[in-house]
């Protein structure tokens, strides 16, 4: 997510750091690069223009030009402005005074409404609420079926309209069922519609009259280009949505739509949808996102993710071991398993500061290689794992055969392990703390 923009800005400011002082000319160069990077990241061209102007005036106002570390100061200002543009604070759903409260999920075709509807249901249930998801897309072939199957797979109750029923007939019934069943939230998965399709937009307006929504969420594909502002504007005019959801951000290197939408409509982005699994939903944190854009990495999200998936007691034990530099191959294997629990390694790695650049340099995370490492360690005896020094040539050969790998592969695993151990010893001497769970 956003690596492109991060690395562009990084390279701009690496250049900038080279100067002792910042002249007006190289300030302009830097800002031109910022603008280019924003445009390439699909930030709307008007938004990019305003953004650069705002940064310029602030940077000048603060006498960056006289500063000794102009690059860092500009980064600071760019970061602040990005946070400003993204909406400063994380905004969650509006608290409802009366339940059940209806949530409308709206957006263009293929933006990811149905998947998000189920994710939101799971999210609300995790918070202790009782959600009902409603199939309100009767237009796309098999959309109802898709929601029913998805909801069923995670144990959410869904409302399925009867055959031949219109959305306008079905919606009030769904709401009634929610009242009778004591549900807290009723999430309507509406049909995808083009923002220029007047007929479909007016259906949405009629639907609002039948069931007044407590909250309307616009789902926007995170890969959207310049058009994001038109889409957001049209939906705002027609249904005045309360917040937006950015989808498919797990695969995108850019994501300027986030900046455009927020800047043009003033509506907060409330969630980020980052995968196809029903729990791949994150609350949108503008400050973290801004840090990420600037290549500072999304460390907080990583920590949160780790907290959700890692075994706390084990993590603590591991940290002690790491501090004491008593890291055995068994621990190495444990760590691998724990880290893999956090999801595809690619997703995890992307949250690590500076990884955008590493990835560009051609370092790919190979999940299969991890599997081989596991196999290699699994083929060792407990003795070997605790005391790898004893692994000689013939043991290596046995391990390679046992794990279906090669001696070279076994050597590589051992080398990696010894490197980590060396690193840990150095860190112990240096007294550095904080490397708690990552063996990389």
């Amino acid at each position: 997510m956003f690596e492109e923009l991060s690395s562009r800005l990084e390279s701009v400011f690496r250049k900038l750091r080279g100067y002792g002082k910042l002249s007006e000319q190289n300030m302009r160069d830097a800002l031109r690069e910022v603008r280019r990077a924003l445009l390439e990241a699909d930030v709307n061209y008007k938004v990019a223009k305003d953004f650069v102007a705002a940064v310029e005036s602030k940077a000048v106002g603060r006498e960056v030009l006289k500063s000794l570390t102009p690059g860092q100061q500009v980064i600071g200002v760019v970061h602040e402005e990005l946070v400003e543009l993204l909406g400063k604070k994380a905004v969650s759903l509006k608290p409802a005074s009366k339940h059940p409260a209806a949530i409308f999920v709206v957006g263009l075709q293929g933006s990811g409404k149905t998947t998000f509807t189920v994710k939101l249901g799971v999210h609300l249930r995790k918070k202790g609420a009782k959600p009902l998801v409603v199939a309100a897309d009767l237009k796309r072939p098999a959309a109802v079926e898709q929601l029913r199957i998805l909801a069923e797979s995670v144990g959410l109750t869904s409302f399925i309209p009867a055959k031949g029923e219109t959305v306008l007939d079905a919606a009030p019934k769904a709401f009634e069922q929610a009242v009778d069943g004591g549900y807290d939230w009723v999430i309507f998965d509406t049909a995808g519609r083009m923002h220029v399709d007047d007929e479909m937009m007016s259906e949405l307006i009629q639907l609002r009259e039948k069931v007044p929504p407590h909250e309307t969420l616009l789902v926007l594909d995170g890969m959207t280009g310049q058009d994001a502002v038109n889409v957001a504007n049209s939906f705002q005019k027609a249904v005045d949505f309360d917040g937006a959801v950015l989808s498919k951000l797990d695969g995108d290197a850019r994501g300027g739509a986030a900046l455009s939408l927020r800047a043009v409509t003033g509506k907060p982005i409330k969630f980020v949808s980052v995968g196809e699994k029903p729990d791949a939903l994150e609350v949108f944190h503008p400050d973290r996102m801004a840090s990420r854009i600037l290549g500072m990495g999304d460390v907080l999200s990583l920590v949160e993710k780790a907290e959700q998936t890692l075994d706390a007691a084990r993590a603590e034990e591991m940290e002690k071991k790491l501090r004491a530099a008593e890291f055995t191959l068994e621990d190495f294997l444990d760590q691998l398993k724990e880290v893999r629990k956090m999801g595809p390694l690619q997703d995890v790695m992307q949250m690590i500061p500076g990884f955008g650049r590493i990835q560009k340099a051609g370092l790919d995370v190979d999940e299969k290689a991890l599997g081989r490492v596991e196999a290699v360690i699994n083929s060792m005896t407990p003795d070997e794992r605790r005391n790898p020094v004893i692994i000689d040539g013939s043991r290596r050969k046995r391990i390679a055969t046992g794990s279906g790998t090669t001696v070279q592969e076994v050597n590589r695993v051992l080398k990696q392990y010894f490197q980590i151990q060396k690193l840990l010893k150095q860190m112990k001497r240096g007294g550095r703390k904080g490397l708690s769970f990552l063996p990389f």
């Binding site: 061209y45 263009l108 890969m223 280009g225 695969g251 290197a253 300027g256």
Partner: protein
């Protein structure tokens, strides 16, 4: 000329933005710096991307500087030619007799693969082809049901398996059924996937391999479906799917709803992958073959 009309209707918004804007920017006798900057912004607003916009503005600047007194219309036709040069990529049409023409359709989630296949199937069937659809999207809930509805609408045959089945196995079945039933075209639908998911891209390679083994020369076409509202990421998609599978053509969908479509210019400009079809609406026949000249003409025409 219903097809052209439909294309024009779909492209109307792009055309309006570009034509009026470029007209305004170039109506002066020689393009001023301001006019060129306006032009660049205009191109940017259509998602052609910053590199392409800069390059086009630069070549116009050079053209204007070559001789004195270039009229506004000369400049406009120069721009047309420039964009046309970018868009004109030769179309390859392999078609061995006796075995089905296999078309593999891929793309990111929600780009419109299933709808595109429905439309393509109808178009090909109307043209006298015997079409068979293999639904290799066994991942997304109800994808098979959705494809089934489209197949019935288009009046063509379809092969599918249970949800969660191996997509390559469905592709295999499709190819085999195509051979056995004497189909002339086999369309293979795949699950949407982001180009960054390594394992899912590997899965596509496997599907490709299975088709290769089953039918000589297959897949004859690998079509990448791209949502027209996608920004510069469409380029990355084209590059990634291209290097993984050897994409032979792009289908640009949902061109009816937005003012943009310039990403096509960027794709044509930076990649050797031609655009083959445009999706311009929700009806079964809302698909048109991509014609660069018509496209550029429609982009610039002022009526």
């Amino acid at each position: 000329m219903a097809v052209l009309d439909r294309l024009r209707r779909g492209l109307e918004k792009t055309r309006r933005t570009l034509a009026s804007g470029i007209g305004k920017a170039l109506s002066r006798e020689a393009p001023s710096e301001k006019a060129l900057a306006d032009l660049e912004e205009l191109l940017l607003s259509t998602d052609v991307g910053v590199a392409t916009a800069e390059r086009l503005a630069e070549s116009l600047r050079r053209f204007a500087g070559e001789g004195p007194g270039k009229s506004g219309s000369e400049l406009v036709s120069f721009m047309k030619r420039e964009i046309l040069d970018l868009m004109s990529k030769p179309m390859s049409r392999p078609g061995p007799k006796g075995s089905p023409h296999v078309v593999l359709v891929v793309g990111v989630n929600g780009s419109g693969k299933t709808t595109t296949i429905g439309k393509l199937a109808k178009r090909l069937a109307d043209g006298g082809e015997r079409v068979l659809i293999a639904c290799s999207d066994t991942f997304r809930a109800a994808a098979g049901e959705q494809m089934d509805v489209w197949a019935r609408r288009a009046g063509v045959e379809m092969v599918r398996q249970k949800p969660g089945a191996d997509p390559a196995a469905v592709a295999y079945d499709g190819a085999e059924a195509g051979l056995a039933r004497g189909s002339t075209v086999v369309l293979v639908d795949t699950a949407g996937r982001l180009h960054t998911k390594v394992n899912l891209m590997e899965e596509l390679k496997k599907i490709r391999k299975v088709l290769e083994r089953k039918v000589p020369g297959a897949p004859h076409e690998v079509l990448l479906v791209v949502d027209a509202s996608t920004g510069q990421n469409a380029l990355v998609q084209a590059r990634e799917f291209g290097s993984c599978l050897g994409v032979t053509g792009i289908v640009l969908t949902k061109l009816d709803g937005t003012a943009k479509g310039g990403v096509v210019v960027a794709i044509a400009s930076q990649m050797d992958i031609p655009v083959k079809f445009l999706g311009v609406g929700e009806a079964l026949e809302d698909i048109v073959e991509f014609d660069p000249e018509e496209f550029v003409e429609a982009l610039f025409s002022t009526d």
